[in-house]
Amino acid sequence: MDRGRLTPVGWAALLLGALIMVAPIVWTLLLSLKHNGELVGHSGAALHGPYTLENYAAIFGNSSTLRWLLNSAIVALGTTAGVLVLASLASYGFARLEFPLRRTLFVIVLLGLAVPSQAVILPQHQLFAWLHLHNSYPGLILPGLIAPFSVFFMTTYMRGIPRELDEAAMLDGASRFTVFWKVILPLTAPAQSTLAVFTFLGSWNDYWWPLISATHSDMYTLTVGLAAAQMNYAQTSGLGYLMAQAVFASLPIFVVYIAFQKQIVRAMAGTAVR
């Protein structure tokens, strides 16, 4: 059980990697705290003061920001909840049950991994126009629910759970749904958390679908709203503001990650499977 320990070289590599990961993010943070005018042509100015919160004030000064935040939260949470339910059910079917067309259907889901979202976005837009779903929450949530990744991942995970567990429960006379609900589902907590984090993240950062589906500003999600709020040449004359937007938009995901990460790594400390 000494697998957690690292050699000094390992530690050094790990810390160097951490530095590479974190430096740009710290830098983003610093830029977001600078007056825009100071950064024109001098992004290095971020390394020293004076710092200000004016860019964050400008984000909140826009009366629509909270509305967009709310929209994003509704869409991302709705998508996450929907994905967890649909994927868990379907994956249990694929991983544990025998039924006609099982293999075929699973391969069809697998095929979905190969569909570039840009390839179906326009037909999807037409479909949602026919269904009058644009500029609505269902319109923003539904396309996120059918991620083939979710089913593929959960099925893979469930297949890794020893079958003896459900067989024992079946011998006790439990129904299939009870086995799913009482035996399998609790064991998939790390996978559920991982999937939740990634679904939330993908939905939160999604840009193209909300851009063409939510065209009224009161239905914008945060990514679309913040992009609309940017003035031209924001990279030059509004760098601080741009970075403040980035920090602001990323915070909720980070909170979600922190909330779930305990579930993801329940560690070798004893609560893990068996």
């Binding site: 649909l86 697998l110 593929f152 991982t194 068996r274």
Partner: protein, 292 residues
């Protein structure tokens, strides 16, 4: 499972499959139909049979884009998989330091592609970037990562690896949670070396996850788009134009919905072929080792 072969299993998969059929399969077939038409964004068009596919086959811009896509995928997937696996192994414990490091290695994943490219532009731009300054400080000519046709794909690959490390790391961590303790305890009793333990226990137990990560990342990187659009606009001279960027330009820039759909179908088939090849190659392995 005592040969149970009944329709009730369908009930579990039906909700997902119905939505899937409506929102993914139907648009995919609609795209297939569009690809056989010369049609613009507003639907005025006519049937042209395979003409769009013939055009694609003779379009050097498209073939370059496909080639770029495969190259950048090959640069990204192996490195990303190995790095993520090493990280997951190193950080798979309950300590506070590990939790903090996991957070750090995950943090880039929370950023949107817009910001990721904005940040990496600062690192990579030869006349203003961090790498350029470091190179100059070392007395070398700074590398033109974003304007040298040979360096621009590696630049996209580095950016993407930095951005995408979080997901595979989490997948591996979740996979490691599935390995029963007693297997390691048994190995410890046998005085197995760490390398042996890794090779004999961890890797086989993680096999499904490794396959999952490689397949997912391959499919995802073959669809790489935003980084190339925002960092280099596909340049210089198309050297970083990926297949999905080609699709996007054709649909939204040129309004050639039929042609873009044909390109989409081609790309879909290629990704499909790669994904299925990976699935079957590893699937056969599983049958062999699956007699648990």
């Amino acid at each position: 499972m005592n040969g149970a072969r009944d329709w009730r299993g369908l009930l579990f998969v039906a909700p997902f499959m119905l939505l899937y059929a409506l929102i993914l399969v139907f648009p995919l077939f609609r795209g297939l139909w569009l690809s056989l038409n010369r049609v613009d964004l507003f639907g005025d068009g006519r049937f042209v049979g395979a003409a769009n596919y013939v055009r694609l086959a003779n379009d050097p811009i498209f073939s370059t884009a496909l080639l770029n896509t495969f190259k950048v995928t090959l640069m990204i997937v192996p490195v990303l998989t190995v790095l993520a696996l090493l990280l997951a192994l190193a950080l798979n414990n309950a300590g506070r330091g590990a939790a903090l490091l996991r957070g750090i290695f995950f943090s880039s994943a929370v950023l949107s592609v817009t910001i990721v490219t904005l940040i990496w532009r600062f690192v990579l731009a030869p006349d203003a970037g961090l790498l350029g300054e470091a190179w100059k400080a070392a007395g070398w000519q700074p590398l033109a990562f974003l304007s040298d046709p040979h360096l621009v794909l590696p630049a996209l690959a580095i950016t993407t690896i930095w951005w995408s490390l979080g997901l595979p790391m989490l997948l591996f961590l979740a996979g490691l949670q599935q390995i029963p303790h007693d297997m390691y305890e048994a190995a410890a009793l046998d005085n197995a070396s760490r390398w042996t333990t890794f090779r004999r226990i961890t890797v086989p137990a993680l096999r499904r996850t490794i396959v999952l990560v490689v397949m997912l990342q391959t499919a995802a990187q073959l669809q790489l788009f935003g980084q190339s659009q925002l960092l280099t606009a596909g340049g210089p001279s198309g050297a970083s134009r990926t297949a999905v960027l080609f699709l996007f330009e054709t649909a939204f820039g040129r309004w050639e919905l039929g042609y873009a759909s044909a390109a989409a179908e081609m790309l879909f088939l290629l990704i499909l072929a790669v994904t299925l090849a990976q699935y079957w190659a590893t699937g056969r392995g599983r049958e062999a080792s699956g007699a648990r």
